[in-house]
Structure formats: structure tokens, C-alpha cells
């Protein structure tokens, strides 16, 4: 499956969703939708979060799974949390604008 691009290759800004399509009936919805904070992460980070969830949120399990040390895994999670927080900021701003 193709990886969803989240960053504009021309100007490096965050991409938004413009259209969605149903492959069953060809219905197409157009608009301007924000990517969720998780969807805005890159593929590696999304896989990490998925594995982390499967490991019941256990950093020790993740360390075993990835054959990395506990602090390395924890640091990686902290980095992803920072990126999610950054990605959430535009959403907050747009919500405020809508209010």
C-alpha cells in the first residue's frame, strides 16, 4: 500500500485532505479536512505507535521487540509525543478560528 504523504514536497508545509472516495460506488467527497495528529506522523512513527499499542503501552515490551534499550525506546516515544503536540497545534488554532 502507498504511504500517505503528509508533508508538501514543494514547500514542506503540512498537507490537508481534499477528497475522499468510496471504491465501491465511486462516490467522491471533496472539501478541506485536517489530517489527524497521528496521521500526520511519518510511517516509522506510526508503526512505532501501533506496535506500542499492541504491546499494551509497555516500554519494556517494546524494548524487547525492537532489541533496543529501554531509554532509547522511551526517548523515541518522547520525540513522537513532541511531534504529535506540534501537529495538534494547527488543529487547535483552526478550532479557535471556527468558534
Amino acid at each position: 500500500m502507498k504511504v500517505l504523504p503528509t508533508i508538501c514536497p514543494a514547500c514542506s508545509n503540512q498537507l490537508k485532505v481534499k477528497s475522499l472516495i468510496c471504491l465501491q460506488c465511486d462516490t467522491e467527497i471533496q472539501g478541506q479536512y485536517e489530517l489527524s495528529a497521528l496521521a500526520s506522523l511519518n510511517g516509522d512513527d506510526q508503526s512505532f505507535i501501533l506496535e506500542f499499542m499492541k504491546a499494551s503501552g509497555s516500554l519494556k515490551e517494546m524494548a524487547k521487540l525492537l532489541r533496543l534499550s529501554y531509554p532509547t525506546v522511551r526517548n523515541r516515544l518522547d520525540e513522537i509525543i513532541e511531534r504529535v503536540k506540534l501537529a495538534e497545534k494547527p488543529e487547535e488554532n483552526s478550532r479557535k478560528e471556527n468558534l
Binding site: 512505532f48 506496535e51 521487540l65 525492537l66 534499550s69 518522547d78
Partner: protein, 221 residues
């Protein structure tokens, strides 16, 4: 459980360099602590055989004979004196949560280059050369004759020791950065302050131990 890859796997060369210069990416916590303490004690054992004292966090000196326990205590003092200030710096500077066992474990393991130093200092040529220097400086040692082989072995041991000091300090920094999750200027500055304070602290504790156990005339190697 099978190994998963949520990140692109590094090439074998990169993985080897990571094991050499940042093994804490793969090992930390209790495993690092056990391995690190074993290495510290083994270094102390070889130090005892070759009269090599690690009498400070980054110090290596050859000289006085002593009981094995004293060499072991020196190694353990150096490790604890380095880990404790870095732990407190981590608490102050890092805004993340981290575990003391990781700081203790990684700092213990970071001392492994001194195992190589203790082995390099084993040949009798090093002791003969040190005694020769002492006698030339008129520092009480009896006249000792040395040959070119002794000089070559001593020069090699010195060169290797310098490289090992640089390697160990690099590992200590990496251990601090990984275990406390600190990066950039904050990490470098606090590490340097931590290293300097640990050096002073370890010297004070070792000299206090030495004078307490062996008398006031035994404060230098």
C-alpha cells in the same frame, strides 16, 4: 516474540559503530549495570596485577602496590562519583522522566575502555619505565635500567591509554545523553560540569580512603 522493525534497520557497519560508540542504544538498565560492574572489578583486578591505579574518574597512574580491595574500591568510587552528579544534572535539566538504574548502568558500562588500559599497563616494562622516571627525577626510587623495548612498550601503553580516556569520556557523554534524554548544548555543558565535579569528588574520596587506611604518607601514587 519476533523482532519488529518500526525503523529502517541500520547497515552492519553502522550497527558496529553504534555498538562501539553508543552501545546504550541497545543496552541499559540492570543488564548494563551488571556488565559494567563486572568490567570495573575486572579492570581493578588487572590494575592490581600491574599496579595501575584508576585514582580518579579519568585518572590512570602506575605505582604503589596495594590490596585488591583498594583497587576495586577505586573503580567503584569513580563510577558512583560520575553517576550521581549526572543523575542530579539530569533531574535539573531534562524535562523528561528517566530511571536512576539507566544512569548507573550506562555509566558503569561506559568505563569498559579502562579494561583495555588495565591490560595495556600489565607488562613489567611500564613499571620499570615509571621507576626509571622516578629515579631520574630523584623521587626516592632506586636506579633502574631500561632498554628500548621497555620504552616502546611504555610509549604504546601511553598512546593506548590516551585513546581509551577519549573513548571512555565519549561513552560517558553518550550514556548521559541517552539515559537522561538530553541533547545539544544543555547536555554538553552539564556533562562537562558533571565530569569536572566528579573528578574532584572522586579524588577527595580516594585520598580520604587512602589516608584513612594507609596513613598520611600514602596520598600519592
Amino acid at each position: 516474540m519476533t523482532e519488529k522493525t518500526t525503523n529502517s534497520q541500520p547497515s552492519p557497519d553502522k550497527r558496529l559503530s553504534q555498538w562501539l560508540f553508543n552501545p546504550f542504544k541497545f543496552i541499559a538498565g540492570f543488564r548494563a549495570l551488571l556488565l559494567g560492574v563486572a568490567i570495573i572489578l575486572l579492570s581493578a583486578f588487572f590494575g592490581w596485577l600491574g599496579n595501575t591505579h584508576f585514582d580518579g574518574v579519568i585518572d590512570v597512574h602506575t605505582g604503589l602496590q596495594g590490596p585488591l580491595w583498594f583497587f576495586c574500591t577505586e573503580g567503584l568510587i569513580n563510577w558512583v562519583c560520575m553517576a550521581i552528579p549526572l543523575f542530579f544534572f539530569g533531574l535539573i535539566v531534562s524535562h523528561r522522566s528517566f530511571r536512576m538504574i539507566d544512569v548507573l548502568g550506562t555509566q558503569a558500562l561506559a568505563r569498559w575502555p579502562y579494561l583495555v588500559t588495565s591490560l595495556a599497563m600489565l607488562p613489567g616494562a611500564n613499571r620499570r619505565f615509571a621507576e626509571y622516571i622516578m629515579s631520574r627525577l630523584g623521587m626516592g626510587a632506586a636506579a633502574v635500567s631500561i632498554n628500548y623495548v621497555d620504552m616502546l612498550i611504555f610509549a604504546f601503553a601511553m598512546l593506548l591509554s590516551i585513546l581509551m580516556v577519549i573513548w571512555m569520556v565519549t561513552l560517558m557523554y553518550r550514556a548521559y545523553a541517552v539515559s537522561c534524554n538530553i541533547k545539544g548544548a544543555k547536555a554538553i555543558i552539564t556533562f562537562i560540569i558533571g565530569l569536572l565535579s566528579a573528578e574532584v569528588l572522586s579524588k577527595i574520596v580516594i585520598i580520604a580512603l587512602l589516608t584513612n587506611r594507609f596513613g598520611a604518607n600514602s596520598t600519592s601514587f
